[in-house]
Amino acid sequence: MAVLTEEQNLLRDAAKSFATERAPTTALRALRDGEGWKTGYSPLLYKDMVEMGWAGVIIPEAYGGSEFGLFGLGLVLEELGRTLAASPLHSTALAAASALILAGDEGQKSKWLPKIASGEITATLAVDEAAHHDPAQVALKATAQGDGFVLHGKKRFIPDAASADLIVVLVRTAGRVGDETGLTLVLVEKGAAGLKPTPLHAIDTRGFADLEFDGVTVNGDAVLGVPGEAFAVLMQVLDRARVGLAAEMLGAASQAFDITLDYLKTRTQFGQLIGSFQALQHRAAKMFTALELTRSCVEAALTALDQGAADASQLATLAKAKANETAHLISSEMVQMHGGIGMTDAHDAGLYMKRARVTEALYGGTRYLRDRYARLGGY
């Protein structure tokens, strides 16, 4: 754990109590067992998160936020990740907010950021269209019309998209699929004519939706930045989204590890605690090693992004890649080390593993991130 300032400590402690008291895994189960998967979170719970100030952590003070920095939001996401708290905080207050902060003009920022900080709206970022994350592959066609565009196409598996009031959409205004040029970010509001969201019932019952754009029109004032040149800023937005998600995954993996370690210290077989078997001890020690390495990466990446360091993109890519590997390892071992009980729906192991696989794929799976890291390294 990095050395925290007093304010950061307070923020983390508040998030910890909130997560354990207000959003334990039983809350996620309640959501799942009802019709909750259609929105993917409890609006009341999100309202309380907003009250805590978390929707405005990275938003500049001028737009109603606290400008506390990404590191602060990372601490909150990590604690919420521990209990698998379901909320649109990441999609709204990190992914979409970063797009507005980094790519928006004054009018767009002053229109939308205060509403995000105050919880008046939720928002999300819609990039992917196929089974694997790869922004350059975006095909969603935007044809120029007046000072804006008309959109035709689809988006796939977008976090919290069915309920989002505002969607930052990556579209192709020029070039061919696979080109990094010709991409543009536009804002589409909920209920826009021609926009059809279909909620998805995913393994992790949080809110995901497919989106269909059938002649959705966007005006010039809803275009973020220069048309056709969104790729570079999108990479910065995705760096932030990835690190935030990595923080959440670090929290989930840490909790999955703690629960497993506890079981190793309580379950008896052959007249011994199973944690005395060396085969399990060594795997536990390796999981601990993976967690510590991942923590170093996540903390370094959050800090680098806050400071605008030159290697921020490398570190962000690294943090998500390590979080992917570690969440994958620990969530699988959690099932195995619990034996039969780990296979039951009543046990939380399954919840941690399902959440892990979903977060591993979002904003870049391990293969994509390795490729990106290699590119950034010039090989």
Partner: protein
């Protein structure tokens, strides 16, 4: 030496200027394994600049920057030592001295030795005058180190040592040995003492052992009626186990901080681009490229962890749990690197000697073989994992 007072910026400026003026140009180039500056009575300096660099650094005590000046050290605070390290890295300076004395023995002498012993040994370590070796392992005592049998008997005014050590790194080139001996055969851990003696004493014999890498960096070491003055016992009689363990902590910390070096600073991705080839600027083999990227990320994660451990220690939190995984992670990482290097070099990496192979490739191949020892030396990876499981995670011993 100059008193820098409390101002760290002044210290940095003055250090930078001193290094610029005193670090010879040839000491700012990458160092190969055979250029390692070990020092000691028998050391042959191939490059006079290396000797000069050691002398200049030793004069300021900067080969042991945080040791007290009274024993020849630099007397620097942890913060100043960090600045010195940063400034050395900035100009890519080679280490002035490689020394088991600095890394392992000195720190325990500072904690356990008498004033007389400190004044006798520490300054010589700082100046690189005496090269030390480590007499711990024996044929029957490796991971279970406390099973050691080398006998040390009290003969009135001196001790007499009989027995055998093994895997003693550089015993044939070292001047002195710090050695674990049995002074009580009725108790295991409480029958061990920590003693120092000169390797030229009659009855000491070191026989080099050849490794799979073709080198002979370590020896079987035999002791036959070796007479050692009583004043050379460190700490209490039968109190050596505590010192032995403390020294192992320093050893592992040192391995951790530096990681394990490769052969000559060749990067895996460079090797892959050179031997596999490039397509559109990328390593042509996508599978190897992905695994290299994964490895490079592990390497970065490791470096960030070492830095975090230091930052936490400095903030007064002591050595946190992350510190315990560092030796294990360092060993795994270097072995992965050397395996990838070998794979990337393909047939070009399978040379042992001769003109048919690039000497740089041969060095990497030797380094690959040597790296297999990383998970054995200084405590095996299995033992490291046992320690993490028990001490850090609180898991119990099997009954």
């Amino acid at each position: 030496m100059a008193d820098f007072g409390g101002d760290i910026d002044t210290f940095r400026t003055e250090t930078r200027a001193w290094l610029e003026a005193n670090c010879p140009a040839s000491m700012r180039t990458p160092m190969t394994a055979d250029e390692t500056p070990w020092g000691g009575r028998r050391f042959q300096w191939k490059n006079p600049d290396a000797k000069l660099w050691l002398e200049r650094m030793a004069e300021r005590g900067w080969t042991a920057p945080t040791w007290p000046q009274a024993y020849g050290g630099g007397g620097l605070s942890a913060q100043q030592a960090r600045v010195l390290e940063q400034e050395l890295n900035r100009i890519k300076a080679r280490p002035a001295l490689f020394s088991f004395g600095v890394w392992m023995l000195g720190p325990v002498l500072l904690e356990y030795a008498t004033e007389e012993q400190k004044r006798e040994h520490l300054p010589k370590i700082v100046r690189g005058e005496i090269r030390w070796c480590q007499g711990y392992s024996e044929p029957g005592a490796g991971s279970d180190l406390a099973a050691l049998q080398t006998r040390c008997e009290d003969q009135g005014d001196h001790y007499v040592i009989n027995g055998q050590k093994v895997w003693t790194s550089y015993a044939d080139q070292a001047d002195w040995i710090f050695c674990l001996v049995r002074t009580d055969t009725t108790r295991k851990h409480e029958g061990i003492s920590f003693i120092l003696f000169d390797m030229t004493t009659a009855g000491v014999e070191a026989r080099p052992i050849k490794l799979i890498s073709g080198e002979s960096p370590f020896c079987e070491t035999f002791f036959t009626n070796v007479k050692v003055p009583k004043s050379q016992l460190v700490g209490k009689l039968n109190g050596g186990w505590e010192i032995a363990k403390r020294l192992l902590q320093f050893e592992r910390q040192n391995i951790s901080a530096g990681g394990f070096g490769g052969a000559a600073g060749l990067e895996v991705e460079e090797a892959a681009l050179a031997h596999v080839g490039a397509m559109e600027g990328k390593i042509a083999d996508p599978d190897l490229r992905a695994r290299i990227a994964a490895h490079k990320m592990d390497a970065k994660a490791f470096a960030l962890t070492v830095r975090r451990v230091e930052a936490e220690a400095k903030a007064g939190k002591g050595l946190g749990p992350a510190a315990s995984i560092v030796k294990y992670a360092a060993a795994t990482l270097n072995q992965d690197k050397q395996e990838l290097m070998l794979e990337a070099m393909g047939l070009d990496g399978l040379g042992w000697a001769g003109d048919g192979f690039d000497p740089r490739a041969i060095r990497e191949t030797r380094a690959w073989l040597r790296s297999k020892g990383n998970s054995i030396e200084g405590g095996t990876s299995e033992i490291n994992l046992n320690v993490v499981a028990k001490r850090v995670l609180g898991l119990l011993d099997h009954q």
